[in-house]
């Protein structure tokens, strides 16, 4: 379809926004509609559109199959790894509340220190939210959804490559 100038130009116009929308659905999924699966599928659809218009080889250069295979596995690893990190922090598998740990403990300790200087009041465990990253459940959901998105996008793109190069295989 390389000679179809309308397709090429409209594709060039649309594809960046499709990919951008996929990223929006991915990282805004906890506020708006969407999530990892939808984002992954939309991202893959954008790349498949690119492959259909500009040829599979061009798409292969954008998304090398080896990288996609790695990303597909990485997504599952990210998801399961989040569960394991929660376990290491003293929670149960995939209990994101246990992810509170790391950053929050540091802040808690600082609060404790401050209070120690001010007086002998007992710490209430309250800490101001200084961090850039969300905490606990929110952080867990964000990471896990990223894992889902990576796996879904990578697998869809890989299946596209497999089907698109099928003709030469037979």
């Amino acid at each position: 379809m390389r000679e179809q100038s309308i397709l090429r130009i409209v594709g060039k116009l649309l594809i960046p926004y499709i990919l951008l929308f996929a990223l929006y659905v991915q990282f805004h999924g906890d506020y708006g509609p969407g999530g990892g699966f939808q984002a992954g599928v939309i991202f893959a659809a954008g790349l498949i559109l690119y492959g259909l218009i500009f040829g599979v080889n061009a798409a292969r250069q954008v998304a090398p199959p080896l990288t996609m295979e790695t990303l597909a596995a990485l997504g599952v690893l990210l998801y399961a790894g989040t569960g394991v990190v929660a376990m290491l922090n003293g929670g149960t598998f995939l209990d994101y509340s246990a992810l509170q740990g790391t950053h929050q403990q540091v802040v808690d300790q600082q609060v404790d220190l401050d209070e120690h200087h001010e007086g002998d009041e007992e710490s209430t465990g309250q800490a101001e939210h200084h961090g850039f990253l969300p905490q606990g459940q929110h952080l867990g959901i964000l990471v896990v959804e990223l894992g889902v998105g990576l796996t879904v996008a990578a697998v869809m793109i890989l299946i596209f490559f497999s089907f698109a190069s099928r003709e030469r295989v037979l």
Partner: protein, 220 residues
């Protein structure tokens, strides 16, 4: 016309289009056109899901049903034939099976609670807990104090920037669908991700294994 009437008119319009598309696809012998129509069917389905306030599912239907599934079917058509075989005789037995099954399913819906009924079992079981625990705490882009009350009761000044503390195990994510899928149903979603990964590996092994074999055969 009231809003409900307009809503119902749009729903009925979409459902009639869905039915028409489905019948057309079933009667069509040109497979290429049939694949295009299944894409349209998916878009209509996605529109209908939007009306049912399920944008998450609508996204999936539009991207998978209309986008990727259409491509996969077209890819398959490129390797096979564009025309379906003419049936030899009228398929009366399959038609009877379809009609009976459909009638049984419709009969089953008579026992179902009315759409949106707050007394429906699905809204009485775990849903209230999910809704209560994932109530959006976000107002004007700032996280609201949720447990600040405990602290202020003890005479401490509490900053309004607090978003969470160790006492809160609630899911602070406004999109309840995401909260349910990723947190409450985290095991299921992990399973689904593994299924997608496994399916991808399966497709790759099937299609690529064949190529390696060919390449290996070539020099011999």
């Amino acid at each position: 016309m009231s809003e409900v009437v307009v809503y119902n008119v749009i729903v009925i319009f979409l459902l009639v289009l869905l039915l028409g598309t489905a019948i057309t696809v079933a009667r069509m012998r040109d497979l290429w056109a049939a694949v295009m129509l299944t894409g349209i069917y998916s878009f209509l389905g996605a529109s209908w899901m939007m009306l049912l306030d399920a944008p998450d599912v609508a996204f999936t239907e539009a991207a998978v049903g209309a986008g990727i599934a259409t491509f996969l079917m077209l890819g398959t058509l490129a390797l096979t034939s564009r025309k379906a075989k003419e049936p030899n005789r009228a398929a009366l037995v399959p038609l009877a099976v379809v009609v009976v099954t459909g009638a049984a399913l419709v009969y089953g819906t008579f026992d179902m609670p009315h759409y949106g009924d707050p007394q429906a079992p699905v809204h009485q079981h775990v849903a209230p807990e999910y809704l209560n625990d994932s109530v959006p705490h976000v107002h004007h882009g700032k996280a609201e104090v949720k447990v600040g009350l405990e602290a202020s009761a003890q005479g401490r000044e509490v900053s309004l920037e607090i978003s969470q503390s160790a006492e809160v195990s609630k899911v602070d994510v406004p999109n309840i669908v995401t909260a349910v899928l990723a947190s409450y149903r985290g095991y299921d979603t992990l399973g689904e991700t593994v299924v997608i990964f496994t399916a991808g590996i399966g497709v790759l092994l099937l299609l690529r294994g064949r190529r390696r074999q060919r390449v290996g055969e070539a020099p011999a």
